[in-house]
């Protein structure tokens, strides 16, 4: 394993030091990343968090128009209740706090415990579960939260910035999740610093369909194919679950180890697929946003927009990971 780390144990701490040093707009205290400007009276606070290794998610999305605080856990491990409680109390501007939680057993348990213990703050929470690769049934932990997390954080963040009350911010956040679907494909496994070797073995000639963002194996392996064929597999899965119509927000997201050039190759295919179904790419994002350490591959996330959601997506945002209009 070759990684730019000091020790596997200190990787999260060291990365947070770097973030704080690089971005004066952020303040890092006790494993919570805050806006340096502090809470704004009357604004709903947005707190998210999850395992590290998905950067820029979540800490890179702390700032104007998105999150008020992020709680990074160990690599691929949810944060602990103490961090979430600390963040929730610190960002409450009197209007309550929304927890944005990706649907993984660990994240759900720790955010639930924290919300229970934060009885002095009004807390609402939204569960993000957009990954169509997981069958949503009694026999699974439910669909995973992946790319749509960014959409939820951006759109709910814009609404909170405009002074909407907690119930309204929570409703729109849940609506964005409801309208979004994702599917991911890995060309390689990732390697966690602690394990030091790839989480799963994937031969050069094969790809893993339906991967999550933690190096957990996917549903099925198939022979390596062209970008066009792989994009079609992902888009058919999305389209089969939520028919593509109207104006769409589309993200082609890199898993951390794939060149941007290849992501654009994929995006061209995704756009053509969507046009072929009679729908339209109205807003788009291409890059590494919800990553899985050094994994090679991509995920595609689609959200059906309406006028209000488009306006909120376009609203100014100023974070280390996402910035426009300000």
């Amino acid at each position: 394993m070759k990684k730019l780390i000091n020790t596997a144990q200190s990787v999260v701490e060291d990365a947070l030091s770097g973030m704080a040093a690089a971005h004066p707009s952020l303040r890092v205290r006790e494993r919570v990343v805050y806006r340096a400007s502090g809470p704004r009276a009357g604004k709903v606070g947005l707190v998210s968090g999850g395992g590290s290794g998905h950067e820029p998610l979540h800490a890179g999305f702390v700032g104007y128009g998105m999150l008020d605080a992020a709680c990074p856990g160990e690599v691929f491990t949810s944060p602990v209740p103490d961090q979430i409680i600390e963040a929730t109390r610190a960002v409450d501007g009197g209007a309550g706090v929304l927890h944005i939680v990706k649907n993984y057993t660990g994240d759900v348990l720790n955010f639930e415990l924290a919300a229970e213990l934060c009885d002095d703050v009004q807390v609402a929470s939204v569960l993000v579960d957009d990954d169509v690769a997981v069958e949503d049934s009694l026999y699974t932990a439910g669909r995973r939260g992946t790319g749509a997390t960014l959409f939820v954080e951006k759109i709910a963040g814009a609404l909170a910035e405009q002074g909407a009350p907690l119930a309204e911010v929570a409703r729109v956040a849940a609506d964005v999740d409801e309208r979004s679907r994702s599917f991911g494909i890995a060309l390689t496994s990732c390697t966690t610093p602690a394990a030091g070797k790839p989480t799963f073995e994937l031969p050069d000639t094969q790809v893993e369909l339906g991967i999550g963002i933690h190096g957990e194996p996917g549903r099925r392996r198939v022979p390596m194919a062209s970008a066009r064929e792989l994009a079609a597999v992902a888009m058919e899965a999305v389209h089969g679950d939520l028919p593509l119509t109207g104006d769409l927000l589309v993200m082609v997201n890199g898993m951390g180890g794939t060149p941007l050039m290849e992501l654009y190759v994929v995006f061209a295919e995704v756009e053509a697929f969507i046009r072929g179904k009679g729908a339209r790419v109205s807003r788009s994002l291409v890059g590494n946003y919800v990553t899985s350490l050094d994994m090679q591959g991509f995920s595609v996330t689609v959200c059906r927009l309406d006028g209000e959601l488009t306006r909120l997506w376009d609203a100014p945002v100023d974070t280390p990971g996402l910035r426009w209009g300000r």
């Binding site: 160990e74 103490d82 993984y104 057993t105 720790n110 957990e216 549903r219």
Partner: protein, 213 residues
């Protein structure tokens, strides 16, 4: 079973988890996200430290300290689940500790895990090791066995329960995403539960040996 017994149990569990850390991580890599060994090792190391910083004065207190530390320090699903188990056990444990009292408290711990994790036997989780261990303890109480024999049987039941997860299809946690592909792998949570029960039997052997001496 005094406070020292429980502190030794928790410390021995920490040692066994440290020694088996890589195996737990490998089991997790197969059907999860390859962090179970590292997380539990980190958590139980913190438990040992907490037991030194705040030496418990009663058995229940040792379990409560362990539980709170695991909830506060580990993260993931295993932190809240094991943490809640130890806390529920601690809350149910009466002083002085008898074998029937221990068995009842252990069952309360298992119920706490089932409730928080919404898992049932057969879902391929730590419950598949913990529930058989709990049944073994209750059966041992009914037969009037000694604590050493009871803990030995509980450890064996947990070990067998953990191995019995191999052919199961996961219905909870990250392994459930794999569907059929989770079949053929031992559940890492069940495996770590078996280690913790193994430590309990080990401490009982030490105590029994002391009595013979």
């Amino acid at each position: 079973m005094d406070t020292g017994f429980f502190v030794t149990w928790l410390r021995d569990a920490a040692t066994r988890i440290r020694l088996q850390r890589d195996r737990l991580t490998e089991l997790d890599a197969a059907i999860g996200d390859a962090d179970h060994g590292a997380n539990l090792d980190r958590g139980f190391t913190e438990v040992c430290k907490a037991l030194e910083d705040w030496p418990p004065t009663a058995p229940a207190q040792a379990l409560l300290t362990a539980g709170t530390t695991l909830i506060r320090r580990v993260g993931g699903a295993s932190g809240p689940l094991y943490g809640s188990a130890f806390r529920a056990m601690g809350k149910a444990l009466q002083d002085p500790v008898t074998l029937p009292g221990f068995a009842a408290a252990f069952e309360a711990g298992v119920v706490a895990v089932e409730r928080l994790g919404k898992a049932a036997p057969g879902d391929k989780t730590m419950i598949d090791a913990l529930a058989p261990a709990s049944r073994a303890l209750t059966a041992a109480v009914e037969k009037g066995l000694t604590p050493y024999e009871a803990f030995h049987r509980a450890a064996v039941a947990a070990e067998e329960g953990s191995r019995a997860t191999i052919p199961m299809r996961a219905r909870k946690g990250r392994a459930s995403y794999l569907g059929e592909r989770s079949v053929g792998h031992e559940d890492p949570g069940a495996a770590s539960s078996a280690l913790i029960l193994g430590a309990l039997a080990g401490v009982a052997v030490k105590e029994a040996t002391k009595e013979v001496d």
